[in-house]
Symmetry: C2
Subunit: 331 residues, 2 copies
């Protein structure tokens, strides 16, 4: 399925290439790994982009870095405001620390303690809020107005999408270095910044490669939105061990891109995610968080026919609570 990248999308291949030049010296150029035993298991050539080894343990550092580096001197003084219960918080805190920018992160009171401590470790001011009684966007807008700070959203932003897209750009280059021509690329989808940016990078440089999202059951808004052709919400009350992949509905800008470029979204269960975390531990010696393991879960559970093909997957993060990780090893 050859799909060219339409001119009208909110982010272009050139935006991603420029983002890569901008952030290159700040990020980890993560390896594209390959395991003979994993290849044999899947009867395919599987190339694994280990973003678990990125700074702060997730791809989110790329987008945050691309945004922060484009703030003016005046904006830097006013600082950054962001809201997140997880990896975006850590990324914003670490980038701000690196560039000497004050940062305020709005986090739910019940966010994982390790994530709250992580943001504070990097010197960010953490404003905890009550998820029932307060609205984080209202709090964020108030802080931004008061401090003259810039709000950096987690995904629905061209700078963020371009930064995350550098994952795709590196995959294409590293696959070429390894003598591989990619039949397909799979990355996780929550708000959709990673998969949208990656799709633009892949489709812009290798139009014949199919790009798939992957999502946990219960939070498969993209799979359903791609089928209906319009943004669909997730049902209330759904649960998943993939704490980093839980949004209410697709992003506006990201869905515009994903609708135009994706071949589909592969939906996996919690049990399939645990098996994938265990396989990454065993075959790749990598610690992967539930949300980071969904593309591998999709392959191992046969959601995509890959026998004889070459497929790249993104393992997008490794920030997992230890009891959850141990549960996966015992699965």
């Amino acid at each position: 399925m050859t799909i060219s990248v339409p001119q009208a999308l909110p982010v272009s291949l050139a935006d991603i290439q420029q983002a890569h030049s901008r952030i290159r010296e700040h990020i980890v150029h993560t390896p594209l790994m390959e395991s003979e035993t994993l290849n044999a298991l899947l009867k395919a050539r599987v190339l694994v982009k280990a973003e678990t080894l990125q700074k702060t343990g997730a791809f989110k550092f790329r987008g945050a870095c691309n945004r922060a580096l484009q703030l003016s001197d005046a904006q830097r003084k006013g600082g950054i405001v962001a809201w997140s219960s997880g990896n975006h918080a850590l990324a914003i805190a670490a980038v701000s620390n690196r560039l000497g920018i004050p940062a305020t992160i709005i986090m739910p009171e019940d966010a994982p303690k390790a994530k709250i401590e992580g943001a504070r470790y990097y010197g960010a001011t953490v404003r905890l809020y009550d998820r029932i009684k307060e609205d984080r966007e209202t709090i964020g807008a108030e802080i931004a107005a008061k401090n003259g700070a810039v709000i950096v959203p987690p995904y629905d932003d061209p700078y963020i999408m371009a930064g995350q897209g550098t994952v795709g750009l590196e995959i294409i280059q590293q696959a070429s270095d390894a003598g591989a021509k990619l039949d397909a690329v799979i990355a996780a989808c929550s708000g959709g910044g990673l998969i949208a940016g990656t799709a633009i990078a892949i489709k812009g440089t290798s139009p014949d490669t199919l790009v798939y999202a992957s999502e946990p059951a219960g939070f498969d808004e993209l799979a359903r939105s791609l089928k209906s052709g319009q943004p669909e919400s997730n049902p209330p009350g759904a649960t998943s061990i993939c704490d980093s992949l839980q949004v209410a509905r697709p992003g506006k800008l990201t869905f515009e891109v994903n609708k135009a470029l994706l071949a589909g979204s592969l939906v996996v269960t919690d049990d399939e995610v645990r098996q994938a975390m265990k396989a990454a531990y065993q075959h790749l010696k990598l610690v992967v968080e539930p949300g980071g393991a969904v593309p591998l879960a999709a392959l191992l559970s046969g959601k995509l026919e890959v026998a004889g093909k070459t497929v790249a997957i993104v393992l997008s993060g490794g920030n997992v609570d230890t009891p959850v990780f141990i549960q996966a090893l015992n699965a």
Copy 2:
């Protein structure tokens, strides 16, 4: 402590450079990682060579590859014989499989099941033996004579030492790329092939860098041998969770090198090793086996004063039984 590499050692820097050219296309060029949180914890710049991500999950693939590639066509037909209960077995099996060489691995009946299955997975013939009643070297010599096979020892061999030394060569290059000048390098020691090869590579290119071995208590033969100036044996009956670091006494060739080049050997306890495995999981998102974690254990337990310095450590392998790994995460 500036130490030049004596001319008379069994392996030269040139041997290691040639080994690197020879094996480069077959091995993983593993990353030299850095964690801001680990740096902060140790008040030092710590560069981590992740050989856990090497083929078969350990540095052993390098030496095995360097040896196998230098067999003549006639020798390749006769095949390879090796003995090992662990990572050398996997490395020989995988390299032989890759190069189409028949391999026989002599393994103790009580070796970890995963290692025996791993060697068989790569097509090696596994000959199990009784550790009490049989002698593996006698069995190996018989098979070699019968098949016309070449015996590939795990460490006391110039080809193997040169292959493992490519770890050191890559560290120097990658540290330089990262703008780091190394004050010290630490790698684990069992038979001593890795640390000897690494020391030659480091001292040959950066004479002012101190090179330390690291060993588990009870199997600290090198620490004691370096002190007495002659090869010392380990006491019988010692135990350690570091299954991959248990030899009776230093290798002959490796001790010759280590005696000439090392600044010392840092000895750690099982508890310190577990804390290091947990820290690698937490800060680096890497799965490290007990024996692979000893250099990090030495740093975290303060066996070397590193505040304000730049230190590279080798995490040499990631082949760990899951109950042992879980025990470390709960430590």
